[in-house]
Symmetry: C2
Subunit: 136 residues, 2 copies
Amino acid sequence: MTRQRQVIADVLQKAGEHLDAAEVWRRARQQLPGLHLATVYRSLESLKKLGIIDELDLMHYRGTGHYYEARTNKDHIHFTCQRCGGVLEIQTSLFEKLKAQIEGRHGLAIRVARLELGGVCGSCASTENKTPHATA
Amino acid sequence: MTRQRQVIADVLQKAGEHLDAAEVWRRARQQLPGLHLATVYRSLESLKKLGIIDELDLMHYRGTGHYYEARTNKDHIHFTCQRCGGVLEIQTSLFEKLKAQIEGRHGLAIRVARLELGGVCGSCASTENKTPHATA
DNA sequence: ATTTTAGTTGCGAATTATTCGCAACTAGAA
DNA sequence: TTCTAGTTGCGAATAATTCGCAACTAAAAT
């Protein structure tokens, strides 16, 4: 564990949510001015393998990049509204059940689970044809 | 619906599974020699919006690219073995229940659901430290 | 405390993957 | 038919990510 990785993990822990590599870089450089973007990518890769962070793409609502977040004890589901871009985090015990069922049935070990949903959120459904109100 | 999109959709329907944009292009050019890769990207985007195909990244087991497959009536789950790279497709009614529960609880409409799992498959778990046997 | 060593970093260049701008074309509506 | 909105081919451009390499550093071994 190098200082770089600690800072990067810390940025994600404090941020709460959904930073892309470039944004992680911007924030981490406040503690580590010389930090190189390539190091951010390499560190994100390691932290991902260590199970400390998770990677998302939020249904590619903007571009093809990826987003990162600190992993919490309970996995959560990400719903991205394809109308307004808002992201909703969802938790339910059914998700845990589903994973357990799959592990049992197929004799495999799940190390990372990513459930991403896309669709139309409640407020966009009621507010038809209105200006999108971003929340990402 | 242009000829290009028909051919591209067809390639994915026949392929069964998991082609990246470049591979779709290679196959589609057999019917449409002049087809441009940019058109493949644009068509995949449209077909995705139409709900005809789905996009995956298979836990980025190889590179950052994306994979596409024809959508079937029942969504399925993709498990990628992070040891051997094999991909397992899983179907279970619990997944449908989960989606229904989320729609009900949060008052939203799910248009696309992508559940990707990563971990160690049964045969890799039993065959510890052996040569990876690719299956992707 | 010092040495060793495996792994990491900064750097800039390179590679992938994807998107864009634009003029020519085409599917389908009128 | 004619019109029109949307699509295509093209090559150039732009992300997003990875690489090669020499200098460093954390942690294990002495």
